[in-house]
């Protein structure tokens, strides 16, 4: 069991938990994730390691409540515990001094972008961050991202905060303004990462995306997470999660992500009807 020692609500439906998991905290690196199973009947779901404190032995996770698993996780309060947390999983980000790096985070993906931006900053990069959400109320980690970035740009789809439009629009604007990025990191919904990849492609700026494919074991044993990168099949959980965004078949990823949507909806309806009978 992995006790929750702190819990915060970051936006409606977006929550953050700090979990006691000393062995994982000890090893965690930017870009890695854990697999979480909330209870006996739960799914195994991947969640990015957002932060960790080796001396406290804690890790921080941020999640958007979308399906049953994240709703169940969101119901756990401080003092309660998660049944299973395995990790750290996946290959760490390749952190070194690239020069000027642009970190682009969309929606709850900002949570996954944060440790990477921080690590890049610590290794001497000039970090320009662009974070975006559908609307101002859903924007998370603005302050934290500000602290680890030399410049921070914000966009919202509806214009309630920062630039009106998509993070990729802001990126395009910065490139046109003459920013010379040595590397771009894109983390967020697949459509957003694809838009970022298409923005940087004509300029041949190396771009990395952290892929959020469906996972089951998260350890290379099932292939549910497979993605096509440069015409080859890769397992996001062990070969990734980070890949060269210009090589990723995002169309395939998006289609594969939708395969279980009807089942997820059904499960959520059943769960909600059980919950309200309690």
């Amino acid at each position: 069991m992995y006790p929750i020692v702190e819990k915060r609500v970051l936006a409606s439906n977006i929550k953050s938990v700090k979990v006691l998991a000393p062995e994982i905290a000890e090893k965690a690196q930017a870009g890695q994730f854990v697999i979480v199973r909330v209870d006996e009947k739960g799914e195994r779901i991947p969640l990015t390691l957002v932060d960790w404190n080796r001396s406290e032995g804690t890790i921080s996770l941020i999640f958007l409540e979308v399906g049953v698993s994240t709703r169940k996780l969101g119901k756990l309060e401080r003092g309660e515990a998660i049944l299973d947390v395995a990790g750290p999983l996946g290959c760490p980000s390749e952190i070194r001094n690239y020069g000027t790096v642009c970190v682009v985070g969309g929606g709850v993906g900002i949570a996954a972008a944060y440790p990477i931006a921080r690590a890049l900053k610590e290794s001497g990069n000039k970090v320009i961050s662009i974070i975006g959400a559908r609307t101002a109320g859903l924007l998370i980690l603005e302050e934290e991202m500000g602290k680890v970035s030399d410049e921070l740009y914000i966009s919202t789809d509806d214009g309630t905060k920062g630039y009106k439009g998509f993070v990729s629009d802001v990126l395009k604007m910065l490139i046109l303004k003459g920013y010379n990025f040595n590397l771009v990191y894109a983390i967020g919904p697949a459509v957003m990462m694809r838009a970022v990849a298409e923005t940087t492609r004509p300029y041949k700026i190396k771009t990395i995306a952290s892929l959020n494919s469906i996972m089951v074991d998260g350890m290379g044993m099932c292939g549910a997470c497979r993605v096509t990168v440069g015409g080859k099949t890769k397992f996001a959980c062990v070969d990734g999660p980070e890949f060269d965004a210009h090589q990723v078949d995002f169309g395939e990823l998006i289609k594969r992500q939708m395969f279980f949507l009807p089942e997820e909806k059904l499960a959520l309806e059943k769960w909600e009807s059980r919950e309200c009978c309690k």
Binding site: E23, K27, S69, G220, M221, C222, E252, K255
Partner: protein, 467 residues
């Protein structure tokens, strides 16, 4: 009455099974096991051969005639004790071992009729004991030595049990959230009920073995770190879990699963009870399973139970070459699984949502035997044909889990990714041993256990300074 006077019973006592029409609608165990009367009758058939040819067919050398004799004498407690001298997981082996190719293959009775059903008798006494509660053997005083076992499949569990019984401290590190390896995540409930696996695992825990779940070695700790943290030896039993794909166009369409994904969802995550359990599984009306081993049979039979109207096995060789156990092929046929031999998919075709709807196959013919001794399948020119399938399960094999090999500097590995060891499981790194599928490639439960036994012996000698 002496053995010679005893009338030879050519036919073995058949074991009751769930009726096919009923069982394809549930995940309960298919084979129901002998009752006491049936077990006694079957045990009666044994000729008690002096030279015991059956023993040499058993990879862990169970004293088969003696345990059968004890059953005959209704001394079930002594019978199971006899088995457990050599095998810590009898209820499992009694269910999933390919006895027809091992002990039973050498049974003298097999020359004139059915061999003695040794596996069913093993299962009978193992179940008899479990229903009454296990006897825990006395554990000697601690030796002060500690061993880390990586992976809790049959190889790891065997090493753990054997070393714990010798007084060593054993900690098993398992990456998944439940112990048992393939026994938990691969082999379906209807062939091996999970409560039985967990009961056998609990027995091993009672021997003093600690099992730490959610620990992926290579990530949570590496092997050098385990050695530094006070473990005197390490055993690697991480299995062959990396699914192979065909590498043909369209293989990443939705609705195409590796057998491992399909079976992990169904068994480990209990997707057959979705939405009571949260993990979903989606099975269409026409399911094609590619491959014809045990894994393919398990996937095909699971798909039927999940409501598929038609399930067919597509295999590039013919019936004779199918690697699955005979009994399981028969069970699959009884349940209505169909077979399409001498065919291989070359491409999958999807709809506009990216879901598979058809596959193109080509006909194969068999040429001369290849390295495996089986006749090599060769494509027939211009023989392409289209088959409808809205779910495809790829069961063409699994290769070693690679994480340990990538994170243990200096560990000798073959070109197939298996770990190199001597016959006792010793690797090229001092104090590090390995066994089971990670060394042999995909094999069997009992061969993994045999490897575990030999490694346990070698580790014990190493720890006590005899090697």
């Amino acid at each position: 009455m002496s053995a010679a006077e005893r009338k030879i019973q050519k036919k073995s006592v058949s074991m009751p099974k769930q009726n096919p029409e009923v069982r394809i609608r549930n995940f309960n165990e298919v084979a129901l096991g002998y009752n006491e009367e049936q077990a006694l009758a079957e045990a009666e058939r044994c000729l008690q051969c002096k030279n015991a040819p059956c023993i040499k067919g058993c990879p862990v050398e169970i004293d088969i005639p003696v345990f059968i004799k004890l059953i005959r004498e209704r001394n079930f407690e002594a019978a199971i004790k006899k088995i457990k001298e050599k095998n810590s997981l009898p209820a499992i082996c009694g269910r999933v071992c390919p006895q027809e190719e091992q002990c039973q293959k050498y049974c003298t009775l097999g020359k004139v009729g059915d061999p003695v059903s040794i596996g069913r008798l093993e299962r009978f006494v193992a179940d008899w004991e479990r229903e009454r509660g296990f006897n825990i053997p006395e554990i000697p005083a601690s030796t002060g030595k500690a061993v880390a076992v990586i992976g809790s499949g049959p190889a790891g569990l065997t090493v753990a049990a054997d070393l714990a019984k010798l007084g060593h401290k054993v900690v098993v590190f398992e990456a998944l959230h439940l112990p048992g390896g393939v026994l938990m995540y691969g082999i379906p409930e209807f062939r091996l009920p999970k409560v039985i696996v967990q009961a056998e695992v609990d027995y091993i825990r009672k021997l003093g073995v600690e099992i730490r779940l959610n620990h992926l070695i290579g990530r949570t700790y590496t092997i050098p770190e385990l050695l530094k943290r006070g473990f005197n030896a390490v055993f690697i039993g991480t299995g062959a879990g990396l699914p192979q794909f065909l590498n043909v166009p369209g293989e990443n369409l939705s609705g195409i699963y590796s057998a491992n994904e399909f079976l992990i969802r169904v068994n480990l995550m209990k997707a057959y009870m979705f939405p009571e359990y949260d993990t979903p599984i989606k099975v269409g009306r026409r399911v094609a399973v590619i491959g014809a081993g045990n894994v393919a049979m398990d996937a095909a039979r699971s798909a039927l139970r999940l409501g598929a109207e038609q399930v067919y096995i597509v295999y590039r060789r013919s019936r004779e070459e199918m690697p699955a156990r005979k009994e399981e092929i028969e069970n699959a046929e009884e349940e209505g699984v169909q077979f399409c031999f001498l065919a291989a998919p070359v491409r999958f075709i999807g709809d506009d949502r990216g879901w598979v709807k058809q596959m193109e196959c080509i006909r194969m013919e068999l040429g001369p035997p290849d390295e495996s001794g089986r006749r090599r399948p060769m494509p027939v020119k211009d023989s392409g044909f289209i088959v409808d399938a809205d779910t495809v399960i790829i069961a063409i094999g699994r290769t070693p889990n690679p994480i340990i090999q990538c994170t243990t500097e200096g560990l000798a590995v073959t070109q197939w990714g298996t770990i190199v060891t001597d016959e006792n499981g010793k690797t090229n790194i001092e104090g590090v041993y390995a066994g089971g599928d990670i060394v042999t490639g995909e094999a069997t439960v009992i061969s993994a256990m045999g490897a575990g036994k030999r490694a346990a012996r070698a580790i014990h000698e190493y720890l006590t300074g005899k090697a």
